[in-house]
Every structure is written in structure tokens, then in C-alpha cells.
């Protein structure tokens, strides 16, 4: 077994150099066909972030192709790393004609890829203040109205028992004594800290202005009362429930459906999964009682945007599809019935809603809502910076809520620099 010298040296070189190439390459290996543009009709492709509607969207695309003959390719979504995957696709030329843009922060980064939809017919039906604007251009059409809060089992929890800090904590303690998980989070970035971190921001008088001041160093989270209370809440949650780091979204919702968890922090999107489990109890959604908050957090999860880098024919075809989705009877039926969306368009009637969506719709109609602050966070701060902080908080039992807030402050500074 004599390995000759040249062979070994060659292999060393080849293997080490491939490390670097592997790093640079990222994950753009899925390349592949772009929209199968036939000669007779311009095809389009859709790459979007919401896992829950993947299959339904494919069905909608099929229906559209049947009606109009325009081929629509729906590229499978991956969920959490959507932003990275989209970036890879845009860079290597396999970008979709229709994509999701989560919020204004992301829109700013992708500015040159976003087609100005201001003049299109169907955007006039977007509910007030729900459109995604970049400067004075309308670049995103909202998916739907969504809301999150404490999703609770009506057989186990009385909303009056979780209306303020003291009752919330004693409810958690009671459940803990019975061996029931009182309040379930899960390990994914947004379900662990992203959504719940909204409250101390959103109960500020002007959350957006507060966040600007935070970025400019004019306020400090540790010195802000709402955050001090938030730290106490998080401490109570950690001390009285099993660690969320062992839980995924699926098990979080599954345990809730099985009655092993009394409350979970989730949004109306979880209704679909609860439906699949055929839960035999009533569910409700209650506000998170931070500093007397009695409102659900309601906002827009994501927006449809059209890729401006495509040639005009494809852009037009993409706009036509969005128009069909929001204006035709078939399209609207898909949005309401199949996607289960609470429409963010004034010309679409909400259908038979599940109880969670109903709660969100009622809150939204009455205006009793707090905004989604995380749409104004520095880009990617939740998975990049907040999640490690939250993980170390849940791993180290002796870390205090105060330290959690200090670390969130540092995380924000790191992301906003």
C-alpha cells in the first residue's frame, strides 16, 4: 500500500481547495428549469415562504393553468431559510417571477428586484395600510391578515386566569404541579423568541419610533419598564414549563392537541394543524398579558412581489396571475377556503373561519390590536442574534430575566450596526 508522493500531495491540494469552493457555492445546487417557457404562452414560477399553503398553492396553480393555459411552476419552499434560498436563486439567475417579501427591511435589500405594482388594478382593493410600500412605490401585496397570542384549551384554561402577570404565573405553577405543560414555545427561531419578543416593543406608544431610538442608542432595553416585565415573564415561563428547545412546531401543536399542553404561543396559522388532529375541545386565543396588554398582535405575515429583473412578458404574466388570484372567483375561493387566509383585501369576503382566525378577524375589525413589531426589526435579527440569546437563557437556569434583556439589547446593537 505505497501511496506515491505526487498522489498524496495532489489529493491534499484538491481536497483542501474544495473546502473553499464548497463554502462559496452555498446551496445553489437545485438550479434547474425556469418556468418552462413555452412558445405559445409565457410561463411563470412562484417561490414563496409559507409552508402551510404549499400544496394548496400548487392546486391553485394547476387550476390557473387549466383556465388560461399559462404554465405555473411552484418551487417547493423550505421555510426557515427562505431568505437565503431566494438570494441564491436571484443571484444565479433562477429567480422566480413571483416571490415573497416579508417586510420593509427585506424589501429595502431587494429593492432592485421589486417591480412597482402601484398602477395595477387589484392593488386598489388592499385593505388600508396593509400594502408593502418602499418609498412611494407599492411593491408587495399582503398574503393575509394574521395574528398570534396565547392559544389555549378552553377546557383547561379560563382567560380570566391569565389576564395579568400574577394570575398568569400562578396558572403556570398550578399546571406544573399537575405535570401538565402550562405554556409551550418551540425551538424554531420565530416560535422561540421572534413572536413573543414583539410584546414589549408593540405595547410602546409608537413601536416604530421606539425601535429607531433603540437603533440610534437613545433608549436602552434594560432601562425600559416593558422589557423588565418581559424578562420576568420569560423567567416564569422557563421555571414552570419543560424546555422549549426539545420541542418542534409539530410536537408543540401536537401536544396541545393531545391535551398535554394547556397553552401554546402560536398564531391562527396553527388552526390547520389542529384541524388535522381533530381536537375534541374548544380552542381560543387570548392576549399575552404584558403590562396589562389585552390585545392580540395582528399583522401581515408576508407579501407577494413580482421580480422586476424578468422580461416584460413574464412580469405581465406574473401580474395577471396575482390579479386572477385576488379578483377571480376561483382565485378568491383558493385564498379563503384552501389557504385558510383571513383576506387582507376589501373585495374578498372572509369565509367560514376556524375559531383562531375568527378571533383574529374580530380583533382586526374592531381595531383592538397591537402591531407586529418584528416586521421592523433589523433584517434577520431573530434567527441570527435573538435565537442564540434565547437558547442560552433556556439552557442556563441561573440566567435572570434581566440578563436576558441585557443580551437582547446587545443582540440588537450587533444586528443594527
Amino acid at each position: 500500500m505505497a501511496f506515491n508522493k505526487k498522489f498524496v500531495t495532489g489529493m491534499t491540494f484538491a481536497a483542501t481547495i474544495s473546502l473553499l469552493a464548497a463554502c462559496g457555492g452555498g446551496g445553489g445546487d437545485e438550479g434547474g428549469s425556469e418556468g418552462g417557457s413555452g412558445e405559445e404562452s409565457q410561463g411563470i414560477s412562484i417561490f414563496q415562504t409559507k409552508v402551510e399553503i404549499s400544496e394548496q398553492l400548487e392546486a391553485a396553480a394547476e387550476a390557473y393553468t387549466e383556465e388560461t393555459g399559462v404554465p405555473v411552476e411552484v418551487i417547493g419552499t423550505t421555510g426557515d431559510d427562505y431568505a437565503q434560498q431566494l438570494q441564491i436563486r436571484l443571484n444565479n439567475g433562477t429567480g422566480p417571477s413571483i416571490m415573497s417579501v416579508q417586510n420593509a427591511e427585506v424589501a429595502e435589500r431587494l429593492e432592485s428586484y421589486l417591480y412597482d405594482l402601484s398602477g395595477e388594478d387589484f392593488v386598489s382593493n388592499i385593505a388600508p395600510d396593509m400594502e408593502l410600500m418602499l418609498d412611494d412605490k407599492l411593491v408587495g401585496v399582503p398574503y393575509s391578515v394574521e395574528g398570534f397570542g396565547i392559544v389555549y384549551n378552553k377546557d383547561m384554561v379560563d382567560p380570566a386566569d391569565i389576564a395579568d402577570y400574577d394570575s398568569f404565573v400562578s396558572t403556570l405553577e398550578d399546571f406544573n404541579a399537575e405535570g401538565i405543560n402550562g405554556f409551550g414555545l418551540s425551538s424554531e427561531a420565530y416560535f422561540l423568541i421572534g413572536h413573543i419578543s414583539n410584546y414589549p416593543f408593540s405595547v410602546q406608544e409608537d413601536p416604530v419610533e421606539f425601535m429607531e431610538q433603540l437603533t440610534n442608542g437613545e433608549v436602552n432595553l434594560s432601562e425600559t419598564e416593558e422589557f423588565q416585565r418581559f424578562g420576568e415573564f420569560m423567567e416564569a415561563i422557563r421555571d414552570n414549563t419543560p424546555t422549549p428547545l426539545n420541542t418542534t412546531y409539530d410536537t408543540q401543536v401536537g401536544d396541545f392537541a393531545a391535551g398535554q399542553t394547556a397553552m401554546i404561543h402560536q398564531g391562527n396559522w396553527a388552526a390547520g394543524m389542529l384541524d388535522e388532529f381533530e381536537v375534541d375541545f374548544e380552542v381560543g386565543m387570548a392576549p399575552f398579558p404584558l403590562e396589562g396588554n389585552d390585545k392580540l398582535a395582528v399583522g401581515v405575515g408576508s407579501n407577494w412581489a413580482v421580480n422586476a429583473e424578468k422580461d416584460q412578458a413574464e412580469i405581465d404574466a406574473a401580474i395577471e396571475f396575482l390579479d386572477w388570484l385576488h379578483n377571480s372567483e376561483t382565485g378568491q375561493r383558493f385564498i379563503v377556503e384552501d389557504f385558510g387566509f383571513i383576506p387582507a383585501m376589501t373585495n374578498i369576503e372572509a369565509g367560514d373561519l376556524d375559531p383562531l382566525s375568527q378571533a383574529v378577524l374580530e380583533a382586526s375589525n374592531s381595531g383592538d390590536t397591537i402591531p407586529w413589531s418584528h416586521n421592523y426589526y433589523p433584517a434577520n435579527v431573530v434567527p441570527n442574534d435573538f435565537t442564540p440569546v434565547a437558547e442560552s437563557f433556556f439552557v442556563n437556569e441561573d440566567m435572570t430575566g434581566e440578563e436576558l434583556v441585557e443580551n437582547l439589547q446587545a443582540a440588537w446593537e450587533n444586528a443594527a450596526q
Binding site: 473546502l19 462559496g24 438570494q87 443571484n91 432592485s112 442556563n396
Partner: protein
């Protein structure tokens, strides 16, 4: 090329080209070209989005590396991980190889089974072990009362790295075992027998005969585990995802997060260059040292 080359010789060159040129083209296209482009990007500040401007900033990216605590921590973790893995993988691999080359009845079966984890692939292996650590370990802890050993290692900032070493060893040991088997089978029986007749004990035979004659296999195995260990990503991603609290964020993942998480394409590339230089230096040194210890029969 010599003028008047014989037909046979020309034919040989033809065959040579048929087999090497496609490979060379592919290697150039997907390894060399991105490598060079990557070096170019390392001198720019750029967010990785094609349409956005690239700003040349000279060596700033490399200077910034020096006091990036997250990167330095990641570097230290990677070194720790690699050192531990190289030891455990090679010890386990060599032990397995000795076992299955002995006169064991089930040697062939054992060989297949030990090699199996390598075939499963890092991503899936990571998810399987995630389940083992989460459910089986906690169950064992409850059942045996040894919950200071059997708990979910993945949720502990110190133990998560050991979990990673453990799973990587599980994956790679079978692979280096094959290399060691080839080496052991290349040792002529008469040498061992001569030593036996001279009265050398089993341990002496192993240390004085087997190990020196296995040096070429050590060269290859150490090189493979060193470089695999440094550039590990798949097991890292699926087992811990870098968590908890970045306690297992190794080099490759740190670079990925810098580029795609924070959108610092140029800076991430600078990290990748440094990463390359370090690994090249370490592995070449290792190959040089172990090559010198190889003995010729």
C-alpha cells in the same frame, strides 16, 4: 511531445485524455473558478445581492477578522472538535480494523455493519441522533438514575460539542477502518510469524511490526479525518444547528451564517480564505510529518 511518436504511444495519450480531460474540466469549473472568484470577493464589502453595489475595501475584511469574537470562538471550537474527532475516529477505526481482520467468525458481517453509518450520510445521521439524545438518553437517565450522564446533551453548551464528536466518530470510524484494513492486509504474514517465533508478545508485535508498517495508512486516515473534521457542516447542521447559543457553531457554519444570515458576502469570503489557509497549512504539515515516518519494506 516527441516528434515521430509511435502509433501505440499516441493511442495511449488519447486514452489518457479521454479519461482526464472531462474530470479536469469539471474540477476547474466547479472548484478552481469559484475559488478564484471567492478570493476576489474577499476584498469587497457586498451583501451578496447581484444588483447591489460592491464596494472595494482592501484588507479591511481581514483586519476585522482579528477581533471578531464570534469567529474566534468558532475557530477554537472547530480546533477542539477536530482534535477530539481525529483521536476518537482513528482509535475506533483502528480498533475495528484489528477486530475484523482477526480470526473472528462474524468478521465479514461486522465489517459491513461498521461501515454502514458512513453510507447513511451526515444529514440523516444527525437527525437520527437528535432523536437518540432527546428521547433515548432522557429515557435511559430516568430508568437508570444516571441522569448526570444520560440527559439531552444537545441542550448543554458544554456537552453539545461532545455529542457532535460522538456522532462524527460514529459516522467516520467505519470509513477509516477500511483504510486500516487495507493496510493490515498488506503486511506480509511471514514478518509477523518471524516475530512470533522470536518470542515477541502480541502487544510487541502490534507496536513494533504492525504500527510502523501501517504508517502509510495513518498518513491517509489522519489526513482524511483532519480535513473532514475541519470542514464538517452536515452533521453540525442537522444535529445541533450550531446551538445551543452558538456553542457548536463550527467554521463552515460560521461562514455560512455570515454570508447568508448577516448578508456580509465579502467578509464571509475573507473568513473562507483564512479557513482555507489554516486547513491547508495544518493538513500539509501532518502529511509531511507522517510521510517521514513511513518505512519501506
Amino acid at each position: 511531445m516527441k516528434v515521430g511518436m509511435s502509433v501505440a504511444n499516441r493511442k495511449k495519450v488519447g486514452w489518457y485524455l479521454i479519461f482526464t480531460v472531462p474530470l479536469l474540466l469539471i474540477f476547474t469549473l466547479i472548484v478552481l473558478v469559484p475559488f478564484v472568484i471567492g478570493i476576489y470577493y474577499a476584498f469587497f464589502q457586498w451583501d451578496g445581492i447581484g444588483a447591489n453595489p460592491m464596494v472595494f475595501n482592501g484588507l479591511d475584511n481581514f483586519v476585522r477578522l482579528m477581533d471578531d469574537t464570534r469567529f474566534l470562538r468558532s475557530a477554537w471550537l472547530t480546533v477542539l472538535f477536530t482534535v477530539l474527532s481525529v483521536i476518537t475516529v482513528n482509535a475506533a477505526g483502528l480498533a475495528f480494523a484489528l477486530l475484523v481482520t482477526s480470526k473472528l467468525k462474524l468478521a465479514n458481517l461486522a465489517r459491513t455493519m461498521l461501515f454502514m453509518p458512513y453510507l447513511i450520510g451526515g444529514l440523516i445521521l444527525g437527525y437520527i441522533w437528535q432523536f437518540v439524545f432527546l428521547d433515548v438518553f432522557t429515557l435511559l437517565g430516568d430508568a437508570t438514575g444516571l441522569d448526570s450522564i444520560f440527559f439531552n446533551w444537545l441542550n448543554n453548551e458544554d456537552f453539545a460539542l461532545f455529542a457532535l464528536v460522538f456522532v462524527f466518530t460514529w459516522q467516520m470510524a467505519g470509513y477509516v477502518m477500511i483504510v486500516y484494513i487495507a493496510g493490515i492486509q498488506g503486511i506480509p504474514g511471514e514478518v509477523i510469524e518471524a516475530a512470533r517465533i522470536d518470542g515477541a508478545s502480541g502487544w510487541q508485535r502490534f507496536l513494533r511490526i504492525t504500527v510502523p508498517l501501517l504508517m502509510p495508512a495513518f498518513t491517509i486516515s489522519l489526513f482524511l479525518t483532519l480535513s473532514y473534521g475541519f470542514k464538517i457542516y452536515d452533521v453540525n447542521l442537522s444535529l445541533t444547528g450550531g446551538g445551543p447559543a452558538n456553542a457548536t457553531e463550527l467554521f463552515a457554519m460560521n461562514i455560512y451564517n455570515e454570508i447568508f444570515g448577516y448578508g456580509n458576502y465579502g467578509y464571509g469570503q475573507a473568513k473562507a480564505i483564512v479557513f482555507f489557509v489554516i486547513i491547508a497549512a495544518i493538513t500539509l504539515t501532518q502529511v509531511y510529518i507522517t510521510k517521514k515516518r513511513e518505512v519501506e519494506m
